[in-house]
C-alpha cells in the first residue's frame, strides 16, 4: 500500500474517537474494586471498634497516607501514559505520602507510649497484612495495567511500577479499615514491605531495563520486549 493511500484511509477514520486514558483507567478500577472489596469482606472485615478508632488521629492518618499514595500514583501514571512524558516534575508527587508518614511518625515519637517500639513497628497482625494487601491489590493492578495500556506509555517498566504503587495504595487503604495497628511505624512497615513487590512484579524484569541510563550515550534500548531477553512480558510491551 502506498503511503498516500494509507494517509487517505487514516483521514477517513478520523471520525472515530477513543476515550481518554483517564476515563478508561477509572472504568477499569471501578470494575476491579468490587473484587478487592469482596476479598476484604470475605477474609477480613472492618475492625469491630471502628467507631472508637475514628477518634484516633493515627487511625485516620493511615487513610490519609494510603489515599495520598494511590492518588499521586494515579496522577503520575496518567502523565506517563503520554508518549512524550518523562518523570521530571512529576516524581515529587510520590513524596507526598512519604512526607505525611514521616510527619506522623515524628508526631507519635513525641507522645508517651505504652507499647515497645518493635511491637509498634511490626504490629500484631503483620503476617495477615503481608498476605492481604498483595491479594487485594492484584485485581486493581490488573485493572490499572489494562487502563494504562489504553494510553501510549513509552517506558513500560516505570509505568508498570507506578501501576503497582497505585494498586498497593488502594489495597492498603482497604486493609487500614481492618487493621488494629494504628502506629504510623506499622504503617511505615506496611507501606514499604507488601507494596514493594508489586512494582517489581509489574515492572516485569525492570532490573534489566536500562531506562534512562543510556541517554548520555545517545543509545536507546527499551526494556521488556516480549520476544527477546525478558521472556513473556505482556505488560511490558509499549502500547504505541
Amino acid at each position: 500500500m502506498e503511503t498516500d493511500q494509507l494517509i487517505r484511509t487514516l483521514a477517513a477514520d478520523n471520525t472515530h474517537r477513543e476515550r481518554p486514558v483517564g476515563f478508561v483507567l477509572a472504568l477499569a478500577l471501578l470494575a476491579a474494586a468490587p473484587v478487592s472489596a469482596a476479598i476484604f469482606f470475605a477474609e477480613l472485615g472492618v475492625r469491630p471498634d471502628v467507631m472508637a478508632a475514628m477518634r484516633n488521629p493515627f487511625f485516620d492518618l493511615k487513610f490519609a497516607v494510603t489515599l495520598a499514595l494511590a492518588s499521586s500514583a494515579i496522577a503520575v501514571s496518567l502523565h506517563l501514559s503520554r508518549p512524550e512524558a518523562s518523570l521530571r516534575g512529576f516524581g515529587w508527587l510520590l513524596l507526598i505520602p512519604a512526607g505525611l508518614l514521616v510527619a506522623g511518625i515524628s508526631g507519635e515519637m513525641m507522645m508517651p507510649q505504652r507499647m515497645p517500639i518493635m511491637m509498634r513497628l511490626m504490629g500484631r497482625n503483620s503476617m495477615v497484612c503481608l498476605m492481604a494487601i498483595p491479594a487485594m491489590s492484584l485485581p486493581l493492578l490488573a485493572a490499572a495495567l489494562v487502563g494504562l495500556r489504553h494510553g501510549a506509555p513509552t517506558r513500560p517498566a516505570v509505568t508498570g511500577a507506578i501501576a503497582g504503587l497505585l494498586s498497593a495504595g488502594l489495597a492498603a487503604m482497604l486493609y487500614a479499615a481492618h487493621c488494629t495497628d494504628d502506629s504510623p511505624l506499622f504503617v511505615f512497615f506496611l507501606r514499604f514491605t507488601p507494596p514493594a513487590p508489586a512494582p517489581r512484579r509489574s515492572a516485569c524484569g525492570g532490573s534489566a531495563a536500562p531506562v534512562g541510563r543510556s541517554r548520555a550515550a545517545a543509545v536507546r534500548k527499551w526494556p521488556c520486549r516480549p520476544a527477546d531477553q525478558h521472556g513473556p512480558c505482556l505488560r511490558g510491551r509499549r502500547a504505541c
Binding site: 500500500m1 502506498e2 503511503t3 498516500d4 493511500q5 494509507l6 494517509i7 487517505r8 484511509t9 487514516l10 483521514a11 477517513a12 477514520d13 478520523n14 471520525t15 472515530h16 474517537r17 477513543e18 476515550r19 481518554p20 486514558v21 501514559s81 503520554r82 508518549p83 512524550e84 494510553g151 501510549a152 513509552t154 541517554r215 545517545a218 543509545v219 536507546r220 534500548k221 527499551w222 520486549r225 527477546d228 510491551r237 509499549r238 502500547a239 504505541c240
Partner: protein, 181 residues
C-alpha cells in the same frame, strides 16, 4: 521550523475537533519529515534505506490509533517525535540489529531536503491480506480505489456506520499484526 510545528499543532487541534481535511493535510505534512528521520536511522544501523516506507507507515498507524493521548494544549511535534522514535527503534529491533538511534534524529529534521518516497512499503500490504475479508475489502476500497465512506457503504450494501466500524477495526488489527510479526 517553528512555524511548521505551530502549524502542525493547529492542524491537529482541528483534526481532533472533527476536521478530516485538516487531519489529511497534517499527515501529508509530517510524512516527509518522518521519512527523512527513518532513512537516517536505517542508514546509521547499516540497513538499506529503502525500507524507510514501512517504518513511516508504522509510525502513521501508531499516531492515528494513539492520538487520544495527545494533549491539545501541548505542542504536537514532541508527541509525534516520541512515537516516531519508539517505532523506529521497534522496527530496527525487529530487523535484529543493535539499536543506535540518535536522540536528535527527530529534533531538527526539517532542515534537509524532503526525501522522496523510495521503495513501496510491503509490510502493511502483506498484513492486509491476512485481515478478515470484509475488513480487507473496505480498507482496499478506501485506500486503493479512493472511494468515500458513503460510496464504500453503497458498494458493499452496508450502512455508513458499519463501514466506519469495520474500517477502524481493520486499521487496529493491521497495527496489532504489524507489532506482533
Amino acid at each position: 521550523m517553528r512555524e511548521h510545528k505551530d502549524e502542525w499543532t493547529g492542524l491537529m487541534r482541528s483534526a481532533i475537533a472533527g476536521d478530516s481535511a485538516a487531519y489529511h493535510r497534517l499527515l501529508k505534512a509530517v510524512t516527509p519529515v518522518l521519512r527523512a528521520a527513518a532513512r537516517r536511522g536505517l542508514a546509521r544501523a547499516g540497513q538499506p534505506v529503502d525500507q524507510s516506507e514501512d517504518i513511516v507507515q508504522d509510525i502513521l498507524l501508531a499516531v492515528h490509533l494513539k492520538r487520544h493521548t495527545w494533549d491539545a494544549n501541548a505542542p504536537f511535534a514532541p508527541w509525534l517525535f516520541a512515537i516516531a522514535r519508539n517505532k523506529l527503534i521497534d522496527s530496527l529491533r525487529r530487523r535484529g540489529r543493535r539499536v543506535f538511534v540518535n536522540i536528535d534524529d527527530f529534533a531538527e529534521t526539517l532542515s534537509g531536503e524532503p526525501a522522496a518516497e523510495t521503495a513501496p512499503a510491503s509490510e502493511v500490504a502483506a498484513q492486509l491480506q491476512s485481515l478478515p475479508a470484509r475488513q480487507r475489502d473496505i480498507l482496499q476500497s478506501i485506500a486503493v480505489d479512493s472511494a468515500s465512506i458513503k460510496d464504500t457503504a453503497a458498494k458493499f450494501a452496508m450502512s455508513e456506520g458499519a463501514v466506519r466500524v469495520a474500517l477502524h477495526r481493520g486499521l487496529a488489527s493491521l497495527t496489532a499484526k504489524l507489532r506482533g510479526q
